[in-house]
Amino acid sequence: MTRVFVPLDMAAKALGADRVVAAIAREAAARGADVEIVRNGSRGLLWLEPLVEVETPDGRTAYGNVKAADVASLFDADFLSGAKHSLSVGKVEDHPYWKRQNRITFKRCGIIDPLSLAEYEALGGGKGLARAFSLSPADCVAEVAKSGLRGRGGAGFPTGIKWKTVADTPADRRYVVVNADEGDSGTFADRMIMEGDPFALIEGMTICGYAVGASKGYVYLRSEYPQTAQVFGKAIEVLRAAGWLGKNVRGSDFAFDVELRIGAGAYVCGEETSLLESLEGKRGIVRAKPPFPAIAGLFDKPTVVNNVLSIATIPMIFEYGAQHYADCGVGRSRGTMPLQIAGNVKYGGLCEVDFGLTLGEIVNDIGGGAKTGRPVRAVQCGGPLGAYVPVKDFDMIFDYEAFTKRDALIGHGGLVVFDDTVDMLQMARFGMEFCAIESCGKCTPCRIGSTRGVETIDKIGAGQNVDANIALLEDLCQTMKWGSLCALGGFAPYPVLSALRHFPEDFRHRSLPAAAE
């Protein structure tokens, strides 16, 4: 029996992975070949999807960009023995894109069958929880603090401090809430880990529950990820059946359960207080802070709200020890960051590396520059609320503080590359348009300012009173930045202001043809 791996990851499916699976099954039956098809997560070399791997005595060998139509020729070439073919990639472990990574959060993603508990345990699954159970809850919180882990959702708040606040707040009930409302364009790490290694997220939630004294965890997943919901829902069932969730987690007297909740297309619900409102069954309107959710969160109870990546990293922090994690990274940005390289880029994918690379290394060395082959002009870092960074700033170090210093945002680690055909006025306009569509409406600067921003940018585009309108737009951005409760209104000005500052020619040249008419 030969094991053949074809990812169930949405990115692989989007390129026909399911048709490849059907073709392999059909061809194997016709040729009498004994094949077991395993649906693994994605390795993250997304430009090679669907990436089919075959298990050979010499390790797993890969074939990239496989289409259903290629399957017969793969059989002809005897790919089941790992033979060469025009689509051969070799071993993923030998690929330069893989070799430069330090896979901690994603160590199992793409390797195991995400719903096989045996394979999960074979690669260290459960060790983190076992070690956590050997410590007191307070020592677990201290371990997380020692690791230096900061919230991977975007704000970068120290996870250990958040947990300690929840643990120390007297209450009859506490909650663990995982924010899987991954709405930023250019990000897909939450989706990938929930499809490729869902048990890690659940194990991390369980450790969190034990550390802070919570017995219930919710995962709030965006509705745009229907297939993620299927895989993750099954993962919860598998762990319940195996006694990893329930009244006696792994035979202990600690009770913990996890429930999956689905959002309904509101970007603002990725903001933690808006998410909590939505979980409670209300409009996703942002709450004023304080009180912070760690003091009064879900149903007014102390609540840990953490991003998927933060929580999915927890088991590995306990398995390897906090120091191992803290030893990676630079400055106050400890550990690794799963970078998501996307947009107009040659080698798009997920690449988990220690903090500290320059933006240029990420975009050009790892990403290979623009997919179109044209020069790169800008990179948007951190989603629709993140700044556009020009090529002259590619020396910027990927680190929370270095980005903040230059008015940029790491956010959730997504990078969207644009080539020189991009019209930065249109991108600035879209930033405002998106804010207008997604504003929850609580704060006037965000609700109305974003619409006025679109109108003002349109006037600039039409060459009307360009200088005065640019001054007005900058002023509006300041009002939104300082007059909004949450990051939607508060950060929507970043892409606009960065476009204005770094690409003024896209805003000003327009007045010339208009004036000449």
């Binding site: 364009s185 989706r191 297939q227 970007y267 069954g281 209300k282 997504g414």
Partner: protein
């Protein structure tokens, strides 16, 4: 996703509502389940949910209308969601979409007159290494081009 929805039935709606009342904060799961059953969240069900959750009709109306996903009327037989977010824009999605909508006389958040296809904008499907991307009846599609979009329209009209 597509038009397998059944006509509204208050008794069936009540069953769905009751099945979720044991949950903490059951409103969103109820609304999703209602939409899965009836293809939308009909006006008539709003007071029914409000009553069950002991909130006002106005509050429940507010919840339903806050979220982009909840429809007030069923969609067409097929739903095409096109990603308009930045990553897809970096690969030319804006022009692709404009030309596609014009070519087939479609519009955002509208259903074609024959009831075959509803086109909706979404902001990121998490397929950003394969931009532009789309979701057709819940199935993801990467590296979308005009030919693929035309095939989708033909498929929607046929089935």
């Amino acid at each position: 996703m597509s038009g397998a929805a059944v006509a509204f039935d208050a008794a069936r709606a009540q069953e769905i509502i009751d099945a979720h009342l044991g949950l903490e904060g059951p409103a969103m799961p109820i609304l999703h389940a209602i939409q899965d059953e009836f293809g939308c969240v009909p006006e008539a069900v709003v007071p029914q949910i409000a009553e069950a959750l002991n909130v006002s009709r106005a509050e429940m109306h507010g919840v339903v209308t806050f979220y982009h996903d909840f429809r007030r009327e069923p969609a067409g037989r097929h739903v095409l969601k096109l990603c308009r977010a930045e990553s897809c824009q970096s690969m030319g999605s804006e022009r692709l979409h404009q030309e596609f909508l014009a070519r087939h006389k479609l519009d955002w958040h509208h259903t074609s007159p024959d009831g075959a296809l509803t086109v909706e904008a979404v902001y990121c499907l998490g397929l950003c290494a394969h931009s532009p991307s789309a979701l057709f009846d819940g199935e993801p599609i990467g590296c979308v081009d005009s030919q693929r979009l035309d095939e989708i329209v033909s498929e929607a009209q046929r089935t």
